[in-house]
């Protein structure tokens, strides 16, 4: 998507519609996953090979419940939206229903995410 197109930072303010926000969130969540996996690999490398303390520091950050709420959002949204994009690309005739596909995406995403956040928060509150 967006091959050779220059949108610049103003692109984020474009008053697009529902599929556009899914596209923007797809990029944002992609960078979130890369941030998490990068931190995870760096922390593990530090703890096992360098034996410094900064790996433990990073570990404490990404194992905290508020960070996991964001990671879970990124992973679930990126997976479901990526699946939607792949399905619409394989069967382009379905592109007629792109907006409905995004509504379906949110309908599937919301219960999964709300339930996961409920589990994370209830566990964080009870200290489990």
């Amino acid at each position: 998507m967006a091959y050779g197109k220059y949108t610049g930072f103003k692109g984020w303010l474009y008053k697009g519609s529902t599929p556009y926000y899914a596209f923007a969130l797809h990029r944002l969540t992609a960078m979130g996953i890369i941030l998490f996996v990068g931190m995870h690999v760096a922390a593990s490398f530090s703890m096992q090979q360098v034996l410094g303390t900064w790996g433990t520091t990073i570990n404490i950050i990404y194992e905290s419940w508020w960070f996991q709420i964001m990671v879970v959002f990124c992973v679930i949204f990126h997976t479901l939206n990526g699946f939607r994009v792949a399905v619409l690309d394989i069967w382009p005739r379905l592109l007629k229903y792109e907006r409905e596909a995004v509504y379906l995406l949110w309908a599937v995403f919301t219960p999964i995410y709300v339930f996961t956040v409920y589990l994370i928060v209830s566990k964080a509150l009870t200290g489990g």
Partner: protein, 142 residues
């Protein structure tokens, strides 16, 4: 706004990476589902907790779950099948990510003087991550 650059039609890097992104994305979903269901199956035997299930879902490596209170990691975990699964998800995930970050960055910098340098930097990081992954896979107990 920069004028839009119209790409050539036919088989080129961007078309192949577009295709790869779809295939690897679906591949990662499939591999994760296999990892998740296998973790559930093996966890019934080995008393697995949630972090272990997630670790096995996204990177089914014996060393990846070794800190997770598993009595004996070698039962059902360290086989050639899982080694192949690790290589597949490693290659799919890091290549998908490297190409994705390349597309995002190139949307902002465009076709400028810096493009080859950014591509080289991303390729270097990609190669480093793949090498770390292969090191972890080969360094695990089998």
């Amino acid at each position: 706004m920069r004028p839009r650059y119209v790409p050539n039609r036919g088989i080129n890097l961007d078309y192949l990476m577009w295709l790869f992104t779809r295939i690897s994305g679906l591949g990662i979903i499939l591999l994760s589902l296999i990892g998740l269901s296998s973790a559930m199956y093996m966890g019934a035997r080995l008393q697995m907790d949630l972090p272990t299930v997630l670790r096995w879902t996204f990177f089914p490596n014996p060393n990846h779950v070794v800190n997770s209170n598993i009595p004996d990691v070698t039962i059902g975990w360290a086989t050639a099948f899982w080694q192949i699964m690790q290589y597949l998800i490693l290659f799919f995930a890091f290549t998908h990510a490297a190409n994705g970050i390349r597309m995002i960055v190139e949307d902002y910098i465009g076709h400028t003087f810096w493009q080859p340098f950014v591509r080289a930097l991303i390729a270097l990081v990609w190669m480093g991550m793949v090498i770390i992954g292969i090191y972890v896979i080969l360094g695990s107990a089998y």
